[in-house]
């Protein structure tokens, strides 16, 4: 909070507020601590990346915020209200495109409008007019104009992932959750999608929580990076990313950028090394 005051930003209600959250799996005997005493605040319009090795609980945080997992201890507030009791609109994209194979791309993208209020009221009336145009416009932004009638299996993995991003954004979510959405793509497609993602974020300014294990991706996209450690999962570093936007891929070769990713990398490696020494 002090930091926020110092930088001249007026403190607001955080969109996400995790207060000393614990998540444990299993019974008494073989208890696994997935997340230990984790606190995390994310202000409106922030783009936060969670990075760390696999098993560090970054996806657990995402599931907590999405409401598909309940904490063992601690509180989670989304837009100031207890999780589950709020109407916050969440958009989510996963590592796999998870498009519904029986719907064409446009209908897939329009799916949230069918489910989420207030859009769901009047879906049958607007699905061939307003909503359809909305979907087409969004698809055009990610370079998929003319593909609305296609079915998922007729598209490449990168194109499916773009469609999946559109589905996550179609209902103007206040909170966008990205669970390694670019992880399964090749380098070039990935960088292309980073740029698209950044443009979409600059345009709509949703609050984003991105889970990734790619430090370059985190530094390119995020305004803040939280580094996590495994067993027990916790946040060990929280740093802001100073580069101005819009960032280009060229930025990622500049010394500042490289030294940032280098520093984060060392931090993760060091944390892992300490773990190894413990029994």
């Amino acid at each position: 909070m002090n930091q926020a005051l110092a930088t001249g930003v007026v403190p607001r209600n955080p969109v996400i507020d995790l207060e000393r959250v614990n998540v444990t799996f299993g019974g008494e005997k073989n208890k696994t601590v997935a997340l230990a005493e984790t606190s995390l605040r994310i202000e409106k319009g922030e783009f936060v990346a969670l990075v760390g090795p696999s098993g560090c609980g970054k996806s657990t945080i995402l599931k907590l915020v999405a409401g598909t997992l309940s904490p063992s201890e601690g509180n989670i507030f989304v837009t100031g209200r207890e999780i589950g009791a709020n109407e916050v609109r969440i958009g989510m994209a996963f590592q796999n495109p998870t498009l519904l194979p029986w719907l064409n791309i446009r209908d897939n993208v329009m799916m949230p409008l069918k489910i989420v209020p207030p859009y769901k009221h009047g879906y049958t009336k607007k699905k061939n007019g307003e909503y359809r145009e909305r979907a087409e416009a969004l698809l055009a932004k990610v370079g998929l104009s003319g593909f609305g009638e296609k079915f998922p299996w007729q598209l490449s993995g990168g194109m499916q992932q773009r469609a999946s991003l559109c589905r996550a954004l179609i209902h103007d979510p206040t909170l966008l959750l990205l669970d390694e959405p670019f992880g399964a793509l090749d380098q070039f497609t990935r960088e292309e999608l980073w740029e698209i993602m950044q443009n979409l974020w600059i345009e709509k300014k949703p609050t984003v929580l991105l889970v990734t294990h790619d430090l370059k991706e985190a530094a390119y996209l995020a305004s803040r990076i939280c580094v996590m450690q495994a067993r027990p999962g916790r946040i060990i570093e929280d740093s802001t990313v100073p580069f101005s936007r819009p960032r280009t891929i060229d930025v990622s070769f500049e010394p500042d950028f490289v030294s940032l990713t280098q520093r984060l990398r060392e931090r993760i490696v060091a944390a892992r090394a300490v773990k190894e020494q413990q029994p």
Binding site: A66, G67, T68, I90, G91, M92, F94, N96, T98, L100, P101, W102, N104, M111, P112, K114, I115, V116, K150, F151, W153, Q154, R167, H171, L177
Partner: protein, 258 residues
């Protein structure tokens, strides 16, 4: 000739050929029509006695379709229940397996006892015959829905019903149609069993009477009718299946129509 057309012509020739062979063998060995009538004799009987046969055929079609309709309704509802609830699965599955192991001939007398001879027991037998495959397939389809697809809906805060409607049911359609093809033929079997045992109408009854008067060609005419009805229903369901679940086989026809 296109490979597709070629394939069709070839298969049609083979099917026709098997009937020609049957005809030829009967002629060559002088098989009596009391034992095994030739296909032409069966078809001749079919045509010449058509006015007497068609009310029976109509009765069988009517009974089967009503029974199948009821079977689909109950099967889908039961399958949805079993597929989405662990308790329902544990309770209903053993009962279903047990029930479907009972020979259906054995329950016809009970149905006659309850509802009297005629159409109702036939409809119910047809229904009972075709419920099991539908239930099993719908339940399997629902239970095997990818959790990732459900997660998509859950983050949107979709209700259970919305998830079922938008994910579960469409996902289950290929399973449902696979079972429907089995169920349609089983429904005919059910109808004819009931008609044979306790009815004075329908193809089953017709064949019963024909065989008791040693009119074997008429029995075979009845068999031909049943077989062609079964094939027709199968074709109808296949056509619907191709339109509805083409996505499951990634057919390009489906993509261009849909």
């Amino acid at each position: 000739m296109k490979p597709d057309t070629r394939r069709r012509v070839l298969s049609a020739c083979c099917i026709l050929g098997s009937f020609v062979a049957w005809e030829a063998i009967c002629l060559a060995f002088g098989v009596s029509e009391m034992v095994l009538p030739r296909p032409t004799q069966a078809i001749y009987t079919l045509v010449s006695q058509f006015p007497a046969i068609w009310p029976h055929a109509f009765q069988t079609i009517y009974t089967t379709l009503v029974g199948l309709g009821l079977g689909i309704l109950i099967g889908v509802l039961l399958g949805m229940l079993i597929g989405s609830s662990r308790l329902a699965y544990d309770v209903a599955y053993p009962m279903l397996v047990g029930f479907s192991s009972i020979p259906k001939v054995a329950i016809v007398p009970i149905l006659v006892l309850w509802f009297g001879a005629g159409t109702v027991p036939a409809i119910l037998t047809a229904m009972v015959m075709c419920v099991f495959p539908i239930v099993v397939n719908v339940a399997t389809g629902l239970a095997s829905t990818e959790p990732e697809l459900q997660d998509v809906m859950r983050t949107l805060k979709a209700t259970k019903l919305e998830i079922l409607w938008n994910i579960g049911l469409p996902r289950t359609m290929p399973y449902f149609f696979a079972s429907l093809k089995v169920a349609a033929t089983l429904a005919f079997v059910g109808t004819v069993i009931a008609e044979t045992v306790a009815s004075n109408r329908g193809i089953g009854n017709l064949m019963m009477i024909a065989s008791s008067s040693f009119d074997v060609p008429l029995v075979f005419a009845g068999l031909f009718i049943l077989a062609s009805l079964g094939v027709t229903l199968y074709i109808v369901f296949s056509a619907i299946e191709a339109r509805v679940t083409g996505w499951a086989v990634r057919s390009d026809d489906f993509a261009s129509n849909g």
